[in-house]
């Protein structure tokens, strides 16, 4: 006889608009990391689902698109890797990769693997880190706007 009932699960997507900024300069010899700490971005979404971190069952990145208003587009960089990092026991994960980068001003990256990010989103301290590999030294600042859609599975 089995005891306990399966809890109800709910799935929903959230799209986060994240801005990554670097004041530069960029050096070809040293790949750059642009960081964004997630804080209040999820508050309304969690409230809508009447959920706390404890209700998060699974999270995965399902799409990632990147845009820059820079006049050269992404032409000054050869590759981009998006990572998720968080405190506690969670482990850093590469969640999207694009190599080579297109010369235009926007592209959609391939989500990497099928990583479950629930441990990251349960943590109070969580970061998105965008690694950029410059093709050459660059003095000017660089800004990327990322549109990231995550699928959340909540349990009761």
């Amino acid at each position: 006889m089995l005891f306990g009932a399966c809890g109800k699960q709910t799935k929903d997507n959230i799209t986060l608009d994240i801005t990554f900024k670097s004041d530069g300069p960029f050096f070809e010899a040293s790949p750059e990391s642009l960081q964004h700490q997630l804080s209040e971005e999820l508050a309304a979404f969690m409230k809508q689902h009447q959920a706390t971190e404890a209700n998060i069952e699974a999270v995965k990145l399902i799409s990632a698109s990147f845009t820059t208003a820079d006049s050269a587009g992404f032409a000054d960089f050869s590759s981009l890797t998006l990572n998720m990092m968080a405190g506690g026991d969670s482990k850093a994960k590469e969640i999207a990769v694009q190599n080579p980068l297109p010369k235009g001003k926007t592209f959609t990256a391939q989500p990497a693997g099928k990583a479950d990010l629930s441990a990251h989103f349960k943590n109070k301290e969580k970061f998105l880190v965008c690694d950029l590999t410059p093709k050459a030294d660059r003095e000017k600042p660089f800004e990327i706007k990322a549109k990231l859609t995550f699928e959340f599975t909540f349990k009761d």
Binding site: S78, M85, K91, A92, E94, N99, F127, D131
Partner: protein, 159 residues
């Protein structure tokens, strides 16, 4: 004020100034764990790894390769041995091979992992700072006794 009182007063002032100076020095000294920050050369001399802090954890990415070009492709080396097929196009320069280290105590950082691009394997890892310019990085599977230690040296930049 007699001489005895003056001396006592001077002693008190010296103690207060000394304590204030200590506070100032401590404020400008890096936190113990942050002594790990910098660029380090692996024991083989093949790679330079920059260790940085994100949140409360320490991460290290390859920023320099002795042989950056893959002779088989004549292009910059990529992480071709990664078990995740989608990661095999990622350039090795910039790849984060040290992840999730937290400062423990006694010049030791633990709970981290080290990735070996030569075989695509990830190992649990601990870092011990032997002196300000020398690290012992131990990668292991299961228990620490079953592992290998590599000694890294701090890279002097601009030379």
């Amino acid at each position: 004020m007699n001489l005895h009182l003056k001396i006592n007063h001077m002693k008190k002032i010296s103690i207060v100034l000394g304590a204030a100076l200590m506070c100032v020095l401590m404020a400008f000294a890096p936190a113990s764990g942050d002594r790990l920050l910098g660029v380090w050369q692996s024991g083989s001399g093949k790679a330079g790894v920059k260790i940085e802090k994100i949140g409360t954890k320490y991460y290290g990415k390859i920023v320099w390769l002795k042989e950056p070009i893959d002779p088989a492709t004549s292009k910059p080396k990529v992480d071709k041995n990664n078990p995740d097929e989608k990661m095999r196009t990622v350039p090795l320069k910039g790849y984060r091979i040290l992840k999730d280290f937290t400062y423990k105590d006694n010049d030791e950082w633990g709970d981290g992992t080290i990735y070996d691009p030569e075989n695509g394997s990830t190992y649990k890892s601990v870092i011990k700072m032997k002196d300000n310019n020398t690290l012992d990085i131990r990668g292991y599977i299961g228990v620490q006794a079953l592992g290998r230690t590599d000694t890294w040296k701090r890279m002097k930049l601009g030379k």
